[in-house]
């Protein structure tokens, strides 16, 4: 087959938020980019997540990356020429009454976060209920981050992709890469239909699908595909500004919600289901929807009367330590990774894209990402 060959400075496999934002920032730096996506950009984890633009609660060592992302979110609409519905209305992280030990953890976290430039205000349950009267009696205390917020995941990654295209990047959808290898100085990527793409630099941002590609480069990583439990209510008058979530070691209790400006309340959390990357399917398990409702009623009892009109899920890739793989390959020069964000990638996404672009273009970044090296799984 006489395969058409397309070349670029950088090839990116995977059109989620990481790949799309990396394509944008690489193009902004004047590099030619080809972004390859099996399906449509931003359709899986990037498009189906909760939309939390939340720094608090992330590992302290991740806050420089999260701060960088925060700056991008604030200017996203101007940067991209499209509305990604970013609302910087704050984020509240609460703990339930039966887990008083979390208050101390919150205080400790707030002290460390302040060192990294993230200001958190610790509030008692009563003070929280005075300011946010929809919080339930089960809320013992909380931490308020005024400069966090939320955005629309369905719009974000595609907006980065379109902005990258305006800067000359090629965004190639419906293109599954089945073989990737470095031949001489270049990476040669072959699509299912035989088309070939060639570039001296390759960035793998393929989320739950990254495992197959990285093992072709001798650096296997175990990724567990999971499916978040998401719901949305009918629209009601806009009254709840911040995003709200529960701090707990027990996954079933981890519920969170936010109200979008048009009035719907988006709910997420509780137990995640398995997902099926090979079939491109993720299913919401009804029992998880029910535990989500249960714990949400503890968090905000007033929401009990609202009708849920739709549930959904998507495919997320989890590493064994729930930290991402981010940085250069341990074995192949010119190869870079950013995947395995383990259900926590949305807020940092644009920061990841900018950091990877910086790393690829300059060979260096000040953002601490050593802890995310793929070498930890070698």
């Amino acid at each position: 087959m006489s395969a058409a060959e397309s070349t670029a400075d950088v090839a990116i496999i995977g059109g989620g938020l990481m790949g799309c934002s990396a394509a944008f920032f690489l193009a902004q730096r004047g590099l030619s980019v080809v972004l390859l996506e099996t399906d449509k950009v931003g359709r899986q984890a990037s498009g189906t997540n909760f939309g939390n633009v939340r720094r608090q609660g992330r590992p302290i060592s991740q806050l420089p990356l999260a701060n960088r992302a925060s700056r991008i979110w604030r200017s996203a609409n101007e940067l991209l020429g499209a509305d990604v519905e970013y609302l910087q209305n704050g984020h509240i992280r609460v703990c339930f009454r039966d887990r008083p030990e979390n208050v101390g953890k919150m205080e400790e976290y707030a002290a460390q976060a302040r060192e990294e430039g993230l200001d958190l205000e610790l509030l008692s349950g009563n003070v929280l209920r005075e300011r946010f009267p929809w919080l339930g009696a089960d809320v013992l205390a909380g931490s308020h981050s005024a400069l966090d917020g939320h955005a629309n995941p369905r719009l974000a990654a595609p907006a980065f992709a379109r902005a990258a295209m305006k800067l000359g990047a090629q965004v190639v959808e419906d293109t599954k890469i089945v073989h990737a290898a470095k031949i001489g100085e270049d990476f040669v990527l072959e699509a299912e239909d035989g088309r070939r793409f060639r570039a001296p630099t390759l960035l793998v941002t393929a989320g739950a699908w990254a495992g197959k590609i990285v093992s072709q480069f001798g650096e296997p990583v175990k990724l567990t595909p999971r499916a978040p439990t998401m719901s949305v209510t009918e629209p009601v008058p806009y009254a709840i500004l911040p995003a709200v979530g529960v701090m707990t070691p027990d996954e079933v209790e981890t519920v969170y919600f936010r109200q979008v400006a048009r009035g719907n309340i988006v709910l997420g959390g509780s137990t995640r289901a398995p997902s099926y990357p090979d079939e491109y399917r993720a299913y919401v398990m009804p029992q998880n929807t029910m535990t989500q409702f249960h714990h949400l009623r503890r968090l905000a009892p007033a929401l009990a009367k609202l009708q849920v009109i739709r549930v959904w899920s998507g495919i997320e890739g989890y590493t064994d330590d729930s930290l991402p793989v981010m940085g250069p390959s341990g074995t192949v020069p010119g190869l870079f990774y950013a995947f395995g964000f383990s259900g926590s990638g949305f807020q940092i996404g644009p920061g990841v894209g900018e950091t990877m672009a910086e790393l690829i273009a300059t060979g260096h970044t000040d953002i601490p990402i050593e802890g995310y090296s793929i070498k930890r799984f070698a």
Binding site: R43, L155, P158, Q287, F293, V308, V311, W312
Partner: protein
């Protein structure tokens, strides 16, 4: 041998399915969204209402009575759950909710008889208060003995258009006009197929005559121009372009509209049935064999929820699906009865083809929807926004267009805008409508409150 069978729906299909099972000694769970059995078509009136079967069901009175009687006789034998919504299906369980409580009901075989709703086309102004679906208008009359307005225009196409309009006339309501988008010539052409059910054809003709005799304006081949009115006071009239091209306006305070029916396929979708495009109706239908078996083992679909063939056919396909389930369970079934039912079904399929030709979905009208017209009423999204999801954000089919534009994202989940969205997206891309795909069903089948609590754990 006796696996647990769950039937969803207690219209004519669900009733006849339950009856066939009970006759074979298999006692099903029957889950019914309605307060009492009968479905939409044979909906029963509230207990203290005293209208006769003839008044309520006209020419179908004896059928309605027979279906009601059949189900009432089954009640001692079955686990009947009225006013219960199936909101999800997963891992061999239907999730049913009633009065804020939900439980997972296990099944080995699931017979879905979920019925149909109106197929709606976007018309400028259809988001105004006073616009109803034909089915909704009929429910108001059947269940509550209410008219939807003081002066009503009926608009759309299909047998239900004439049936509901004449029921309104008979009940003494003020029917201003019956406005049909399908041309009269098409109905003449479809006569050979419609003659499969001569009495239904005859009744249809009688209805039209009766409407005209009652002084109601009846127009064919018209094109809706606008439903006039304002957001505060609602509908004030309907403007149309007649077949000869002149504009006509009808003053009214309510509009009942519908372009024939569309099957309710959400439960089949959640049970992971496969779907195929049906060229005749330009809709995606769940794939079943001649007896109602879906491609998923243990899943059976019957009645208008599988394919819109009408109430009489629903009795046939409901029984057929139950016999298929019994046969699959290893129960001996009457093969002659199966053959008879299959032959009946073929006749209804031919009749339905005739209806589809006589009362076609006005797809060009829908594809040409003006940019300013609201396509998705739940979310208030215009055709312009939908088209921008294609032309500016590169959506290639309706699910992607939904993600960008919100068309189909509201509480109806695309029931009333999904067909139109596909026509508009496909037309803009210059592709056949099947290329725009179908909106994938997502739970809950209908909205459920956050307050819903599990009672089975």
């Amino acid at each position: 041998m006796n696996g647990q069978v769950v039937i969803v729906g207690a219209g004519p299909a669900g009733v006849r399915a339950a009856e066939a099972l009970v006759k074979a000694g298999v006692l099903p769970v029957v889950i019914d969204e309605g307060r009492r059995s009968g479905g939409q078509i044979y909906r029963r009136q509230p207990d203290h209402f005293k209208r006769s079967y003839d008044t309520l069901y006209g020419s179908e009175a004896h059928r309605a009575a027979a279906v009601h009687r059949a189900f009432d006789a089954l009640l001692p034998h079955i686990d009947y759950r009225p006013e219960t919504l199936v909101w999800n299906v997963a891992e061999g369980h239907v999730w049913a909710t009633r009065a804020g409580e939900t439980e997972a009901i296990p099944y080995d075989r699931l017979i879905v008889c979920s019925g149909a709703t109106d197929r709606l086309a976007p018309v400028p102004g259809w988001q105004l208060a006073g616009c109803y679906s034909l089915g909704g208008s009929q429910v108001a009359l059947k269940a509550q003995a209410c008219s939807i307005g003081g002066a009503v225009v009926f608009m759309g196409t299909g047998p239900l258009l004439y049936l509901v309009a004449s029921q309104y006339v008979k009940a003494g309501a003020n029917v201003v006009a019956v406005l049909d988008t399908s041309p009269f010539a098409g109905r003449v052409k479809a006569l050979p197929k419609l003659a499969e059910q001569p009495d239904l054809l005859w009744q249809g003709m009688k209805l039209t005559l009766a409407l005209k005799r009652a002084g109601v304006t009846v127009l064919s081949g018209m094109t809706p121009a606008e439903i006039t009115g304002d957001p505060e006071t609602g509908v004030s009239g309907v403007t149309i372009r007649t077949a000869s091209g002149t504009l006509r306006h009808f003053e009214c305070d309510a509009v009942a509209m519908g372009w024939h029916l569309r099957p309710e396929t959400q439960i089949a979708d959640l049970a992971r049935a496969s779907f195929a495009f049906d060229k005749a109706t330009r809709q995606w239908l769940p794939e079943i064999d001649g007896d109602g078996r879906a491609h998923v083992p243990g899943l059976y679909l019957a009645g208008d929820g599988a394919k819109v063939l009408g109430a009489r056919s629903a009795e046939v396909t409901g029984e057929l699906a139950a016999l298929a389930a019994l046969a699959d369970m290893g129960v001996a079934v009457d093969k002659d009865r199966c053959r008879h039912l299959r032959a009946e079904r073929v006749r209804y399929v031919r009749f339905a083809q005739g209806l589809a030709e006589a009362f076609p979905w006005p797809h060009q009208f829908v594809a040409d929807t003006a940019d300013s017209t609201v396509v998705c009423r739940c979310e208030g999204v215009t055709a312009a926004t939908l088209r921008a999801s294609v032309s500016e954000a590169y959506a290639t089919e309706t699910n992607r267009a939904k993600a960008f534009s919100r068309v189909g994202m509201g509480r109806c989940q695309g029931r009333y805008c999904g067909n139109a969205s596909a026509e508009i997206v496909a037309a803009l891309r210059g592709e056949p409508v099947e290329c725009a795909g179908r909106l994938r069903g997502q739970a809950p089948v209908k909205p459920i409150p956050v307050g819903t609590a599990r009672t089975d754990v």
